[in-house]
Amino acid sequence: MSTADAVTTSDLVRRTYYGQPVIKKPHWKWLVINYFFVAGLAGGGALISTIADFVCADRSLSRLGRYLSIAAITPAPILLTFDLGRPNRSLHMFRILKLKSPMSLGSWALLLLGGFSTLLAGLEGLSHLLGREVLPGPRRVIGLVSLPFAVFVSGYTGVLLAATNVPLWARNYLLLGPTFVASSFSSTLSVLTLLLGLGSGERPDTAQRVAQAEAVVLGAELGLLIGGVVRLGRLSRPLTTGWYGFLFWPIVVVAGTIVPLISLLTGPVQGKTTSRSRRTATALLAITGSYTLRMLMILAGRKSADRPEDYFEYTRRR
């Protein structure tokens, strides 16, 4: 063995066990990444739809939210089932309810929200077809009852990641759920902006209000993202450096959050009417940012779990 080898070996042994990961990373990849994104839209769609049903004069917003929620929640169980090692046992999720396990809670919340969303989208579709409001009272009541489940589905995926030993997720456990909720709001409002723009009867005041809500949400998301990176310190490196950092800063932070925020602050928030192409571009950027955030959070978490130095720092005695 050369002297150089000996030095390298001793350095590795001093810090870690031959660089061997201490914890095991989850197997989650694209199925779960896509699930995280559609869960954000399903929860966010149900949430914003219920809010709009109570406060917004333009009924089309609430209606589109219901359609978005049902469209987003439909692929969710399919993605989750195919991610299982034993897909034919997917219903084993409903053998028990475990309050400390976000995955158990999330499975039940998804099941219940699926039921509520189907019911509500059915009522909205019927109202749409018949040209009159079908059971508006019960619709609002069901909307309210579904709210906790909508909130949970929109953000529990962040809590699910935080309740592991992966340093990138666990150290940031207070802000990861909120970050996913904010990202769910922003992607949902952006998809609703796109859907409103598709119809011929778009009301400019509705678009304006959605844009204002979106500005608040994007501001919160930016704060939570930065707060998370600060909280993580050196443990954020799997996300903020290397290839993932190369995607995180320009796509998630700049193009996905800061640029749409500026676009909204300089346009609709000041009461100016902006062109449809600008609204579309702004929404597409925010959606791309939300998707990329969830993608990178999972991929960088896998990398974080593989770094023994990071885990030793996370579990250092204080």
Partner: protein
């Protein structure tokens, strides 16, 4: 030495009732009899033969098919290349935690606490969601997704503390095969006392021995006592063990509360924006 009494001990501290392992690394000679006995009894397939760095470690880590793993930490002596090398050898295993991250995470109830106070995965229930894998603070549980020589069954696996042998009044295969009694099986409370005597004896000889998984040393942040615990001679990191592991479910309730508070704040802001005249 490991005489087994096939009944649950009555102990004042319910956390220490039940069966466990005391792994005394000071007498481990790195023979891997435990690895082999475990694989034979549990009919686990072999691993890829891939030597880790310059050590004698060919299994690298605990996995779906390796439930005992002997670590070989090479500690170069002072004086540069050619100096006497010290070895830290330890037979790693599932810790059968008092509050187990894998068990708390499992959404199907497949991971259960047995009548021996051990943590066991019911193979006919596990659906391979994989949430237990990053929830174990020690990297023990692993999904069998068909690496190496193993056919994939898509389920999570780990040490069962030889549940099948225990129900027949036998001690686990690894403890049975260990030629130096580095692996000792028995009632956890009794093992604790034995371990403390061993620590005292080694300390009297000038060695820095201590029990890993003891609340007094570093603490285990909600995990509680480890029912398979270790006598170590150097810092935990040298054995690829975390200094102060955390029960991941400590984060569930605070995470849900901050999530709900954020949703409330953003929901109100959205309502104000959408409802503006």
């Amino acid at each position: 030495m490991n005489t087994y009494v096939p009944s649950l001990p009555a102990h004042d501290d319910p956390n220490l009732a039940g069966k466990g392992f005391f792994t005394d690394t000071s007498v481990c000679i790195g023979c891997k009899a435990c690895e082999v006995a475990c694989k034979q009894w549990n009919q686990l397939p072999m691993d890829d033969l891939d030597w880790d760095a310059t050590s004698y470690d060919n299994t690298h880590t605990l996995s779906a098919n390796t439930w005992r793993h002997v670590t070989f930490a090479e500690i170069p002596g002072a004086g540069g290349p050619g100096a006497q090398t010290n070895w830290l050898m330890m037979s790693d295993v599932c810790k059968h935690c008092e509050h187990a991250g894998c068990l708390e995470a499992c959404p199907t109830g497949a991971i259960m606490r047995s009548e021996f106070n051990t943590v066991v995965i019911q193979q006919d229930v596990c659906n391979g969601c994989g949430y237990c894998v990053p929830s174990c603070p020690f990297g023990v549980v692993d999904l069998n997704l068909g690496d190496g020589f193993a056919a994939s069954d898509g389920k999570a696996h780990k040490c069962t503390l030889c549940y099948d042998r225990l129900t027949e009044g036998l001690e686990p295969a690894c403890a049975k095969s260990c030629p130096t009694d580095s692996i000792q099986f028995g009632d956890v409370a009794e093992l604790r006392e034995r371990a403390q005597r061993r620590v005292d004896s080694l300390r009297a000889q000038g060695l820095n021995a201590y029990i890993y998984g003891d609340e007094q040393v570093g603490g285990t942040n909600g995990i509680g006592d480890l029912h398979a615990f270790f006598l170590l001679l150097d810092e935990p990191q040298k054995y690829n063990l975390p200094e102060a592991p955390v029960l991941p479910q400590n984060h569930t309730l605070p995470g849900i509360l901050t999530m709900a508070a954020t949703a409330l704040a953003l929901g109100l802001a959205t309502a104000l924006s959408l409802g503006r005249k």
